[in-house]
């Protein structure tokens, strides 16, 4: 008789335990998988939609060739030493300054990420441990990945001599060049040579001749070779050409075209 009364509660308790231990996890798993499915479906839809946009974006790019050329010239794929030297000298001459020296730093020595395919994050992660050539310490792949996405800089140092106003004009021109760059350091001092030579203190103190040592960072961005899902999803349905116009509006100094001119000499050791 007692069993009769206990049967239903016991069965109920057992069922509750079975539900909690076995069924509820399955329900949770089902909900989780459904949620994952919806997310994946969204991702797939996004990829298909973005891939669909690519064709129209490419057409848009081809029909705006001037903008494309400007962007590729403003943010070049590689560092152009010759262009940087030419520009620094050209603008100095234009500002009536004498160039005393120009030196260039090798960026790759300071930036380990440039030694790897900068536009391929997969390669960076899959690659063996990369060490910092300066410190010898291993670098976190995530840090490398972040660095690879950043713009690279080639630093150039120029020393010019001239008057104060001309140096200001030169700085202004350097800031407004038609190339991605920034003036990172400026040192201006009175001409030391003149200080030593000049016996007449009054004459030297009144002189306007100054020497300026200026560091300019020229930016470049390696060509994208392996776009991934993350970069694809950031794409809009059209290019933001307004950004280009904004940059263009701040440029007053166009970059002259460099030409090597005629080459070939009978005796390269003799000036002809």
């Amino acid at each position: 008789m007692r069993l009769k009364f206990l049967l239903f509660p016991v069965v109920l308790v057992i069922l509750v335990i079975v539900f909690i231990a076995n069924i509820w996890p399955e329900i949770s798993l089902l909900r989780q998988m459904n949620s994952q499915y919806n997310k994946d479906k969204e991702i797939l839809g996004n990829i298909i939609s973005k891939k669909g946009d690519i064709s129209s974006l490419n057409d848009n790019l081809e029909s705006n060739k001037d903008k494309k050329d400007f962007v590729l010239s403003y943010v070049p794929e590689k560092n152009n030493d010759e262009k940087n030297i030419y520009l620094l000298n050209y603008l100095a001459t234009n500002s009536s300054l004498s160039v005393l020296s120009i030196s260039l730093d090798k960026v790759a020595q300071n930036d380990p990420s440039t030694e790897i395919n900068a536009s391929n994050p997969v390669n960076i992660i899959a690659s063996a441990i990369v060490t910092d050539p300066n410190t010898g310490e291993a670098i976190d792949p995530q840090v490398l990945l972040e660095n690879a996405k950043k713009i690279k800089f080639a630093e150039a140092h120029v020393t010019v001599a001239g008057e104060y106003d001309k140096i200001k004009m030169y700085l202004d021109k350097l800031e407004r060049m038609e190339i991605y760059s920034k003036v990172s350091e400026v040192k201006i001092s009175k001409n030391k040579e003149e200080k030593k030579e000049g016996q007449d203190q009054a004459q030297t103190s009144e002189s306007n001749l100054l020497v300026a040592e200026i560091a300019v960072d020229f930016g470049y961005y390696p060509k994208m070779k392996d776009a991934d899902y993350a970069t694809l999803t950031k794409l809009g349905s059209s290019f933001d050409f307004a950004k280009i116009e904004k940059v263009r509006s701040g440029i007053t100094q166009n970059v002259p075209v460099i030409e090597a001119g005629a080459s070939g000499r009978n005796n390269p050791f003799v000036t002809q």
Partner: protein, 177 residues
Amino acid sequence: MTNINLYQSPAEEKKSTESFFDGGFIISVVLIGLVLAGFAGIKIANWRIAERNQALAAKIDLEKNGISGDEQINKVVDFENRIDKMAEGIQKNNTRLVLDDVAAEIISGAVLAEYDFSEDGKIKLLIQADNFQTVAKQILAFKKSANFNAVTTEDIKRGNKNIELSLGMAIANKTVK
């Protein structure tokens, strides 16, 4: 004393033993059946959903793998990135204006001998002054300027003809120039 009749007829006894399989038992069996059926149903559903998810994931992988090798995608993404980098580069120090701001604070009796500006917005100056009073006034002029902050006197020494003052400072708002 009251008599209690404890007699039970055989029919009633039989009825009570038969009622073991009554409503409670049936409900229990039904519940067990329902739970088992539900469990099996969910298991089957999970199995099917897992298969569906796997198929979808494989499709996504296929689509993702197709991204990196696509020349057209690379070209478009590269251009978009380049535009973004260009826009990031707009904000920078205007070194000429900073130089103008420094010149605006130089007082009478003082001459700027050396100017050193670095990318982080820090400036070091070497100023030659007639006398210590001018030195004091010059320090005050920079400290009162809205264009500079963290003005520190690094060194003061007497030269042959004048007093040399080394000052350190930072641009107050280095990018908005």
